[in-house]
Symmetry: C2
Subunit: 505 residues, 2 copies
């Protein structure tokens, strides 16, 4: 009704308002008479209800924008309405959106995207922003991506035909999983995912009614991936399903671990042995902070393992404009490189992509610019390098700061943040707090995070949203706020945690 009143003020609305905002017009009365329906209002059951909806969709959970984030939104509205809280703002440390937390876009990227949309760079961008592109993405952008991959991987060749531009990496991951999942009963496709994981994977597995096969990262060993654990997982899974896919996130999300080259070789060998289609989510490939770690692409390692592997292991690798030093989340730019596909499958994949026509051309443009940064000697190079180093240096500093500060707090243990943009500390939850959580019908870490949010305004995501070993609890917090703000946030979390321990001692 308020909205109707507002519309009247705007002059968009007839001045006679009936109980439904407009009143029963003569057209409506006539229609009702013709159709012989009594015009009183009756409430009928809905066709689409929790019972009748797609059960696979009902089972989907996506904690990164889940219940705690909805609660954060409500609290923000309350703050806007002047309701007093122990804090003046909600800090959204739940989602990997750097620019939303104040990170500046890279000047070169933005200028280029801009010139592209003005069609001032025909030689660089051979498509029209207003038209659909080819479903696999603009050809010359795919060539640029292939050239980028080749340079990144020290000369290991990438074929543009194996490159698919996507609407963010999420779209590519979802598409590949969709084409892979088949079978029924004990032949239903099993998809191996790390625990903890980025919950896109569990959500898509749920949507597709595939079988989620968990393999646990080793928290006591910096979240390392242990091939014995992969073997354990696949062995047990074979009793229930047909394991066909192995998903790796490197650098990890939420865990931030950066896999060693040896580990990657072991994983590839395991996939080769067990006949698993490999998905390598490498969106954080530019976010490596630990001086002892280095990003190794699955593609490169696979190639260097020789042709028995490089000609046979089916591998899809994913990248995105949303992370790294770019932080261009809103453009929904991404690509996947998919190698060793059966020749007949390529056509099926392009067919599937064609139904959605094409990814947003502006996102493709953004991806093109990301893979074509300025090189030494070019006018833009200095500023670009400076800005990139500043962003990444800042993130590295914040990674260390976060790890150190959390590890000073009794009852919190935080593994080193080797890469990505998150801390995933383990929290000790006292027995009394567990009981309180149970009373509230919440997982203990959700209870903890809700309390944190209500008392400090800091929004993080409970570890249960990512998966964790039974009996352990965590939360995921981004390291994206500016340094000074991050220090304040960390201090508040520390103070909260100490009070929490005291309260529920």
């Amino acid at each position: 009704m308020q909205r109707a009143a507002a519309l009247v003020r705007r002059g968009c609305y007839p001045r006679t308002l009936g109980p439904w905002g407009r009143g029963q017009s003569s057209a409506a009365a006539e229609a009702s008479a013709v159709l012989k329906v009594r015009p009183e209002r009756s409430r009928r059951d809905r066709i689409l209800t929790l019972e009748s909806m797609n059960p696979q969709v009902k089972a989907v959970e996506y904690a990164v924008r889940g219940p705690i984030v909805l609660k954060a939104g409500e609290i923000e509205l309350e703050l806007q309405r002047g309701i007093k809280k122990p804090f003046t703002e909600v800090i959204r440390a739940n989602i990997g959106d750097a620019q939303a937390m104040g990170q500046q876009p890279i000047t070169f990227l933005r200028q280029r995207i801009h010139l592209t949309s003005l069609s001032l760079l025909p030689e660089r961008f051979c498509a029209c922003a207003g038209s659909y592109s080819a479903s696999q993405g603009v050809n010359c952008i795919r060539e640029d991506v292939a050239a980028y991959i080749t340079r990144r991987d020290g000369g290991v060749p990438a074929d543009p035909d194996n490159i698919y531009l996507t609407t963010g990496a999420s779209d590519g991951i979802s598409t590949i999983l969709k084409i892979l999942v088949s079978g029924g009963g004990k032949s239903r496709t099993g998809v191996m995912i790390p625990i903890p994981q980025y919950p896109l994977y569990s959500a898509v597995i749920s949507e597709l009614d595939a079988i989620q096969v968990n393999y646990y990262l080793d928290e006591d060993n910096c979240w390392a991936l242990n091939v014995n654990e992969l073997r354990r997982a696949v062995r047990e899974a074979k009793e229930q399903c047909d394991p066909k896919v192995l998903c790796i996130i490197n650098p990890g999300n939420p865990t931030g671990q950066v896999q060693s080259r040896k580990c990657i070789e072991d994983v590839i060998h395991f996939a080769w042995e067990e006949k698993l289609f490999l998905l390598a989510d490498e969106v954080y490939q530019d976010n490596v902070y630990s001086p002892d770690c280095r990003f190794h692409s699955f593609k490169k390692v696979l190639y260097e393992m020789g042709p028995e592997y490089s000609s046979n292991v089916e591998l899809a690798s994913f990248h995105s404009t949303s992370k790294g030093y770019m932080g261009e989340c809103g453009y929904r730019g991404g690509y996947m490189e998919v190698i060793n596909l059966h020749p007949e499958i390529k056509g099926q994949l392009v067919k599937l992509l064609s139904v959605r026509l094409c990814p947003p051309v502006s996102g493709q443009a953004a991806m093109d610019i990301v893979v074509n940064p300025p090189v030494p000697g070019e006018e833009s190079f200095e500023q670009f390098s400076r800005e990139k180093e500043s962003v990444l240096g800042n993130l590295a500093k914040k990674a260390k700061l976060t790890e150190d500060l959390f590890n000073q707090v009794p009852g919190i243990h935080c593994n080193p943040l080797q890469g990505a943009m998150y801390a995933f500390p383990r929290i000790f939850i006292p027995a009394k707090a567990m009981e309180a959580a149970q009373t509230h019908q919440m997982a203990p870490d959700m209870f903890y995070c809700m309390k944190l949010l209500e008392e400090t305004g800091i929004c993080v995501v409970p570890g249960s949203g990512f998966g964790q070993r039974e009996g352990t609890y965590h939360f995921r917090m981004t390291i994206l706020p500016p340094v000074e703000k991050l220090k304040t946030v960390l201090q508040k979390v520390k103070d909260f945690h100490i009070k929490f321990l005291e309260k529920y001692a």
Copy 2:
């Protein structure tokens, strides 16, 4: 190998090339030794094959970018390589992409999008292009869309909470269908779609393993929708499935018919009677050419039918930046207005959308600008009006021209193009041509279209890609090339058709 050579020339590549482009490096040799795998190349079976892939994806067809379009691409490459053909260019009249065929973007739209990306319009665009937006879309854009709908519908109120921004209309349609489909066996959800249809619908139904329930538009009556045919379809469907959804495309694609208000009321009443969730695909709402036709939104008609309908019928209406006078396909801008959802379903829908994070912000910006055109008195108004009228006037002229010319051709009958941007003429295919088609293992209209492509370079889509009554054949051709080119195209189709009839007489 050519690519490898090119990479060497670019200096990205070691100069010693082995049979796999790089040669076995020492790292690879070492790895092979450690893993005890003999390094010769052997070809293993693929994990992902036509047999093992998702059968629902295998069943998907999308003719608009299907086999004939792939053939057109091959022919283009041959032309580029200098192979002589009876024509010098391929004319892609298969897809509704206006700007790809030379239509100019609207100045106001492009300037605004541009200023938005420069963040020079903070009061207009309350989001950051680099960040993820809310999953339902930027709030103030949703408010603008609601205001647009209210103005368009003469004051019928639209609630921003019911507006969801999407990655093109395809994304919204796919999401709504996904949440609706459930059940198994004879309880599997049936989705009613028009025949002929836009094959996104059949593709998504296939992906979701739902049941496609065809209702036939009446070709002898300008492709009118007859409620008796809806009743026939739902009655028969109930023996096989649980019909739950009714999809309408108005103005129609590929058929171009614009539904009368009376027809829309009848459809709404039918949906109310049969308890069907209504999907109204209205992406061509600005493309109405026939002076006897007018666009009536389902939302408006529903509202004016009084509260028994307007409070109960679950309706999702879709719009896009890709069609109309805008033709902004590459931005992937779209929205859906979904009313009368069960309160618990709203949360489920937003949850499902949140897994993909958000639609591209540039597409949301484009949609925002589309719903906020200049008004009389504003500086941009004159030019905007002029350009809009020019585009739409041109399309109307081409619609009539196409209908008239096709109807002069013996063996072709073309219904009036009341709206949208396609002709869908019926073609007579002689018996000998049917036999030839069978020899080539093609549907007769595919055979016809292939011949048309090979002999004239004109790429259209066979009617079998959209559905048609048994024993009838059609093709869909866009009316998007510039007038003079379109006349040439039509003349060539005419000449081809006459020769075709003679050849297969």
